[in-house]
């Protein structure tokens, strides 16, 4: 199963965040699973139009996703999905 990993910066607001295996087949489905596990976290990652926030990055197996609006970047059964804070925006 793919695994989602989080930047430490998010753990300030969601102390229980940890590496989490997911079953979703799309990035949107994966983030919905994260919201179910950690209520409220989705709004920290996506804006109210469900686009990736400007200063948040998602990497799939070390490559930054390209589609920040529709989150259509593909991943594999054993992918690692990192949710990171950009160095901009502070």
């Amino acid at each position: 199963m793919p695994v989602v990993k989080f930047t430490y910066a998010l753990k300030r607001f969601f102390p229980k965040l940890k590496d989490t295996s997911v079953s979703g087949k799309t990035l949107s489905a994966v983030l919905a699973e994260m919201e179910a596990s950690y209520p409220g976290v989705l709004r920290y990652i996506l804006d109210d139009q469900r686009c990736l926030r400007q200063h948040v990055n998602i990497f799939i197996d070390g490559t930054m996703i390209k589609d920040r609006a529709n989150l259509s970047d593909p991943f594999e059964e054993n992918s690692e999905i990192y949710i990171m804070q950009a160095l901009s925006g502070g």
Binding site: A9, L10, F13, G40, R43, Y44, I45, D47, D48, Q49, C51, R53, H55, V56, Q85, A86, G89, G90
Partner: protein, 360 residues
């Protein structure tokens, strides 16, 4: 004078209380997180923090115990499909103003945002809805534009305490709007304003009121510190009159506050023109008028008069009784006990100050 000060700053929210004849820090919340507006609802003492995380977006926090504990509530969000302009999705980028709905609407709250949406809550802030009547105003898509921020923003919400369905709002850049039916219909109230940056300075729309405030004891008198001067109305916004000093210093700036007990007495925090935006000649001055803007006094006693770069943002100059307080872009916080005649320092070591409110 009310005995609490709430500050929204670049690095958190700070509350001071007046004890033993001085201001002392009572609470610091949200270390490191920008708080665009710190707001105390005078009806129930609830504190609000409008946050602007660098990374995680806007968040709205509520405390019912003076900042000891906070609950995050859902920040205003635009309905799916709404657009700032054709092809540009509307999303809440910044919360720039907050006001309560009045004593007759005890569950009502207003929040103004960038990119130009006004939001209303009817359930004490548990949820907010976009005020569609203003968002769909025929002037918006073509006639509103950024000023201060990249997109249009609502920084002023002035609820008339005599009739809480009567509200003025200020938008940079669009101007002043008025509703008399609780937000169902909106009328432009820009007559008499001058926008020197427009091809037609007297256009109906496109003005830049940096802040709009009403006189507490006569809400038909409103003042605005505009990008192009200081303007005042005595007829509820039907006509505005330029009351600036032609050669300054009371001319360009961001903030204005009106005395509780006198609609003719107001303070402004002048800055050096829109191209410089520092303290004028590197010395800090507050100007006060006691006669409705006919004349202005320069108040400098106790303020730095050399090597000073401070300016005062639009929500960071307030008054309460004889007290006047302002905070600056370089984190200095000043207090006057005598309506500005003399000033003392509360702190020189704060983050950039975005908002100040006197509270109980």
């Amino acid at each position: 004078m009310k005995s609490t000060l709430l500050l929204g700053t670049r690095k958190g929210m700070i509350a001071y209380s007046f004890q033993n004849n001085q201001w002392q820090v009572e609470n610091i919340s949200f270390d490191g997180i920008p708080v665009s507006i710190a707001y105390a609802d005078p009806r129930n003492g609830t504190w609000w923090a409008c946050q602007d995380h660098g990374h995680w977006g806007v968040k709205l926090q509520r405390s019912k115990d003076r900042g000891k504990t906070w609950d995050e509530v859902t920040a205003p969000a635009y309905p799916e499909g709404e657009e700032v302009k054709d092809g540009m999705k509307a999303t809440t980028r910044y919360m720039w103003s907050m006001a309560h709905g009045g004593n007759n609407y005890s569950s009502r709250l207003w929040i103004g945002t960038d990119p130009g949406g006004l939001f209303m809550s009817e359930d004490e802030g548990n949820s907010f809805q976009l005020v569609q009547s203003l968002w769909q105003h025929p002037t918006r898509k073509e006639g509103w534009f950024g000023g201060g921020r990249d997109l249009p923003g609502i920084h002023s919400i002035v609820v008339d305490p005599r009739n809480e369905n009567h509200i003025h709002i200020g938008i940079s850049c669009a101007g002043v709007f008025e509703t008399t039916d609780g937000g169902k219909n909106w009328n432009l109230r820009n007559k008499g304003l001058r926008a020197d940056f427009l091809p037609d300075p007297y256009a109906e729309i496109g003005h830049d009121p940096h802040i709009v405030v009403a006189a507490p004891n006569n809400p038909d008198v409103l003042w605005q510190q505009n990008h192009c001067g200081i303007f005042r109305t005595t007829d509820g916004g039907m006509t505005w009159e330029d009351v600036s000093q032609p050669e300054g210093p009371a001319r360009f700036g961001f903030a204005v506050t009106v005395a509780d007990d006198n609609p003719d007495q107001a303070w402004v925090a002048p800055a050096d023109s829109d191209v410089i935006r520092t303290a004028i000649r590197h010395s800090l001055v507050i100007c006060r008028t006691d006669d409705g803007g006919k004349t202005w006094k320069e108040l400098r006693n106790g303020l730095p008069q050399e090597n000073c770069f401070d300016i005062v943002y639009r929500h960071a100059l307030v008054s309460s009784g004889d007290a006047v307080v302002f905070g600056t872009t370089t984190g200095n916080l000043f207090f006057s006990r005598d309506r500005g005649d003399t000033w003392e320092v509360i702190s020189n070591y704060l983050p950039m100050i975005y908002s100040i409110q006197f509270a109980d």
